[in-house]
């Protein structure tokens, strides 16, 4: 969905963590590497916590467990592709169980 935040246009989607172990180090690294392929600024937002999707420490800090939900928001020239790519890596359970 397209949203505006402080007048800026951006793209965001809500995802649910589907792999058993949640967002631990390996999946976090995969997520960050996916995010880094894009120029847009990408954020993961959980409750009042907003972290940069290109920072592994930030992503791990979410300590997101299986079933937890958060928003992926991107802002920039390739924002749509960025959100879709991050969403798909999460939906694919980071290629683990």
């Amino acid at each position: 969905m397209v949203n505006t935040f402080y007048g800026r246009i951006m793209f965001e989607k809500i995802v649910t963590i589907k792999n058993q172990l949640g967002l631990h180090a390996r999946p976090a690294a995969l997520l960050v590497k996916t995010a880094e392929r894009f120029k847009s600024t990408i954020f993961l937002i959980r409750d009042d916590l907003e972290v940069n999707a290109k920072s592994i420490m930030g992503v791990m800090m979410l300590a997101a467990e299986m079933g937890s939900q958060f928003t992926i928001r991107a802002e920039g020239e390739d924002e749509k592709g960025a959100v879709e790519a991050v969403v798909s890596v999460i939906e694919d359970k980071f290629y683990e169980e």
Binding site: A25, E36, L49, E50, V51, N52, K54, S55, I56, M57, G58, M60, M61, A63
Partner: protein, 320 residues
């Protein structure tokens, strides 16, 4: 801004404030959302027009003496004035005995009633410190916070520009890491910005190509700090020849974080540039300014004097 349950408040302050839960256990899930404390003196007399009942209610010596002097029946009526509201909790300070009716009402309405060991003034002071911290405006920033010569430097800039490497380099030189990657800043009273890290990350940082580094384990407890006042923002930017960078430092640039203005320095970087030394200079310059020196302005003053002197010596020969 947030809210806190009476339960959490009790758990976190039970020992610090020597709190005793006297009555009203049923209302421990009540919440309060204000950092203010209210003494319901006027409300007890029946004036409830502007009664801020949603704040923590404090009954000190004055209120307790007033209640103690009332006859039993009148006292219940008086207490009823405040108990008709949805109070978060009531605190009775000092050595005041709890008058008949108060505990019963607290139990009945499920409004927790606490008795700390401290006198009113001392309690109010300690409690305010806690409330200020809980309700302080907060912000999470992407950056690193390092204590350099006692000055809290907040490094910001795009992802992978080298903030963590800089933090590590500074730690190696004896400075202290407060937080890397995620810095939680809260505004304390009198415009002080306090920064700390996230509890899960706890002084771990990521270095590209190496992975996760535990700074506390590698460098020891001397290398870290749990929190530090944020005093200068240092923004790292990619070198861009079309950009205008500060050359004299005469005009101070500031940035506003949570409505508090702090000095901001923008440092262009390129491979091989020693930013660590620059960071130390920024901290030392800040210390000089705090103690009343402004290197750039003082240098310029000397320069202006010299120019004036030369002009006088040469006479005003050149056209004005």
């Amino acid at each position: 801004m947030g809210e806190i349950t009476v339960e959490t408040f009790f758990k976190q302050n039970r020992r610090r404030l020597a709190l005793e839960l006297v009555a009203g256990q049923g209302g421990m899930d009540r919440k309060f959302t204000s950092a203010e404390i209210h003494r319901p003196g006027l409300a007890l007399t029946g004036f409830v027009e502007l009664y801020t009942f949603d704040r923590v209610q404090l009954l000190g010596n004055t209120e307790m003496l007033y209640l103690a002097e009332l006859p039993e029946k009148k006292r219940r009526e008086t207490l009823g004035m405040i108990f008709q509201f949805d109070l978060p909790c009531i605190i009775v300070t000092g050595n005041n005995p709890i008058p008949g009716g108060l505990t019963e009402l607290a139990d009945q309405q499920a409004i927790p009633l606490f008795k700390p060991r401290f006198a009113t003034t001392k309690f109010t002071h300690l409690f305010s410190l806690y409330l200020d911290d809980i309700f302080a405006p907060r912000l999470t920033l992407h950056g690193s916070l390092v204590d350099v010569y006692g000055v809290g430097l907040l490094f910001t800039g795009r992802s992978s520009i080298g903030k963590s490497e800089l933090a590590l380099d500074l730690v190696e030189r004896g400075h202290h890491l407060v937080a890397d990657d995620v810095v939680i800043i809260s505004r304390r009273s009198q415009g002080i910005l306090m920064g700390k890290g996230n509890d899960i990350l706890r002084h771990h940082l990521e270095i590209r190509g190496v992975g996760i580094v535990d700074v506390e384990k590698v460098f020891g407890v001397r290398a870290i700090r749990l929190q530090k006042r944020v005093q200068v923002e240092v923004e790292l930017v990619d070198w861009d020849e079309n950009m205008d960078y500060e050359r004299t430092g005469i005009d101070d640039k500031v940035v506003s974080i949570l409505d508090v203005e702090i000095p901001k320095v923008t440092i262009p970087i390129y491979p091989g540039k020693n930013i660590t030394v620059i960071a130390e200079i920024i901290a030392l310059n800040y210390l000089l300014r705090v103690s009343g020196h402004h290197p750039a302005k003082e240098f310029n003053k000397k320069l202006l004097e010299l120019i004036k002197k030369r002009r006088r010596q040469e006479g005003v020969s050149f056209s004005e």
